[in-house]
């Protein structure tokens, strides 16, 4: 389902003026602290009434200042995971989790069990929020939003307080939600890696304005977007299809640039994937190297080079029909004589592509 947001709002000394459309799935909101991300989410949820604007989810208009339409918060059915957990202190964890479901036809015990299991909060069900750790609170808040059967998920840095292992469990779940329930998600994060996997659309906000917005593949593969996203987070997305699984736990996928070996991908052959390859994980080699521990050596052609403000250069590469990004030092670029049009090899370590960087795409997309 599509999400279309246009908002104008003024705080005492902050002006928000954003507009973006995302045709389907997950929209990632990036931006530095204080950029206005939470304000956007609040406006979509109805908690902030913007001075003007229009918010549409699928066919449903949630807010339209021109027609004086303003759906009450509780009728919007957004599952909002707040930046601060906001658990109900008088209810047990179980009561918190079940809170939203009662307004949506009751708790589905199967889903309840699945969410509880995924979030690892089974042992906490009878505790009060005051007796939870920071991360436990956040997990319960995620579960509470998920179990409310929302028609739109609003996630405001939901995983910031979680360890990587837990993150790795939650993200695939969100992915399934997006695909199976066709649930639009608006996701705020400081970590591109966390979101690249999920997002169809990336919106970058700076000081209350949209500075970049577009399909994830385009934005992430665009060297010009690097300053907004952060150097370490830059990286491109490759489309791939699972070919098969090997006995040693590795999986082989086909990309337009050739086959790649990845850590095990939990999907049957034929599944379409999207793989994020961080720019700093790519090494360029003029000759095809041998005797390397890196299993993936992809022939590429240099599309463009873009200087950063440090000693690095962002190199955009064409691998088959897809684009890759590599970050190298200016010295290497000079030493190796990298220029647009040059053919060379991109070396990608298999282990550098973690589970979090691989996302399955539904068959129908």
């Amino acid at each position: 389902m599509s999400l279309s947001v246009a908002l104008r709002h003024s705080f005492a000394d902050f002006k928000l003026d954003v507009a973006f459309d995302s045709p389907l799935g997950v929209t990632a909101l990036f931006g530095r602290s204080g950029a206005g991300k939470t304000s956007v989410i609040n406006a979509v949820s109805g908690l902030l009434r913007p001075d003007a604007g229009r918010v549409v989810v699928g066919e449903t208009v949630l807010f339209d200042s021109e027609n004086g339409l303003d759906l009450p918060v509780h009728r919007r059915r957004v599952g909002y995971v707040f930046q601060d957990a906001r658990l109900f202190p008088h209810l047990s964890v179980r009561g918190n989790l079940g809170y939203g479901a009662r307004f949506a036809g009751g708790v589905d015990p199967v889903k309840f069990a699945r969410v509880v299991e995924m979030l690892g909060i089974g042992a906490l069900l009878d505790r009060r929020p005051a007796a939870l750790s920071g991360g436990e609170k956040q997990r319960v808040a995620i579960g509470r939003a998920l179990l409310a059967r929302p028609r739109l998920l609003l996630l405001d840095e939901p995983l910031a307080a979680l360890d990587d292992a837990r993150k790795a469990e939650v993200v695939p779940f969100l992915e399934r939600l997006r695909d199976e329930a066709d649930l639009p998600i608006l996701y705020v994060s400081h970590s591109v890696g966390e979101v690249a996997r999920l997002a169809n659309t990336v919106v970058v906000i700076e000081a209350g304005r949209v500075v970049r917005a577009g399909p994830t593949v385009e934005v992430l593969a665009d060297p010009a977007a690097v300053p907004s996203l952060g150097l370490r987070e830059a990286g491109a997305l490759l489309n791939a299809t699972v070919i098969g699984h090997h006995a040693d736990g590795l999986s082989e996928v086909a990309t337009s640039g050739g086959p790649l070996i990845l850590p095990h991908v939990d999907a049957p052959p034929g599944t379409r994937l999207r793989i994020r390859i961080a720019a700093q994980d790519v090494i360029l080699s003029i000759a095809r190297p041998v005797g390397l521990s890196a299993l993936n050596i992809v022939p590429v052609q240099i599309v463009s080079l873009r200087d950063g403000n440090g000693p690095g250069v962002m190199v955009q590469l064409r691998a088959g029909d897809d684009l890759l990004l590599a970050r190298v030092t200016r010295r290497s670029a000079t030493d190796l004589g990298l220029v647009p049009g040059l053919d060379c090899h991109a070396i990608v370590k298999t282990v550098a592509v973690s589970g979090a960087d691989v996302m399955t795409l539904p068959a129908n997309r």
């Binding site: 909002y80 906001r86 809170y99 009060r128 509470r144």
Partner: protein, 230 residues
């Protein structure tokens, strides 16, 4: 004090408890509603409502009783209607309860209002995003969080109702078995020569009962706090 209470004392105690109980119970929903309206809404005439609520506190109780008598007495504008529909309050224990409720109302409303104002609106917002309408938010989030305040308001109102005298005796007089509560009985004893001993007995009864209620309420409050806090 050690020997059992006399029938007359029993009667006064019984009546005081009944009056205070019903006064508190019946004014509770109205008190919660008023407190919520004053805490959360803005509406024209809010200042007037607020003023009216506080009026019984400001006026000498006799005046309140006098006004009640004129309004709710058998010949008063409301009282005659109540009389006609078979719900008379004047010179009945129900009238004593009405007087006690009105005198205790400002105390109850203030306590509850204060608690409502202390509830973090962020929690109510969270409930709304989860699909709870205003009424549900109130019932499932605000109300439970306000329980300590409601309890405080209730116990204040109960205590006030137990001690209410001026408005009661002016409005419903001091009819044994009907409107003679502990305070009016104490008054009656204090007005006759040699009645101090009997009055003291009643004072002790009133104190014991009220302190009992207070202890129970404190215990309940601690339980409530423990449920939320740990």
């Amino acid at each position: 004090m050690i020997d059992a209470l006399t029938p007359a004392e029993w009667q006064a105690l019984n009546l005081s408890l009944r009056v205070s109980f019903w006064a508190t119970l019946c004014s509770l929903p109205i008190g919660v509603f008023t407190a919520y309206a004053l805490a959360r809404w803005t509406f024209p005439g809010k200042a007037i409502v607020n003023g009216l609520v506080h009026l019984p506190l400001v006026l000498p109780p006799v005046v309140t009783g006098y006004m009640l008598l004129i309004t709710f007495g058998p010949r008063g504008p409301i009282g005659s209607v109540l009389e006609a529909i078979g719900l008379p309050v004047a010179f009945r224990w129900s009238g004593a309860a009405l007087a006690a409720a009105i005198m205790a109302f400002p105390l109850m409303v203030r306590a509850i209002r204060l608690s409502i104002e202390a509830v973090d609106p962020k929690l109510e917002q969270a409930a709304a995003t989860l699909g709870a309408s205003r009424a549900w938010v109130f019932a499932t989030v605000t109300l439970p969080l306000v329980m300590p305040g409601i309890l405080a308001g209730t116990i204040l109102a109960f205590a006030k109702a137990m001690g209410e005298f001026g408005a009661t005796i002016t409005f419903v007089s001091n009819i044994p078995g009907q409107t003679q509560t502990l305070p009016t009985a104490i008054y009656a004893f204090l007005q006759i020569p040699g009645g101090e001993g009997a009055a003291l007995r009643l004072v002790v009864i009133a104190v014991v009962v009220s302190m009992g209620a207070l202890l129970v309420s404190e215990w309940v409050a601690r339980r409530l706090a423990a449920r939320v806090g740990s």
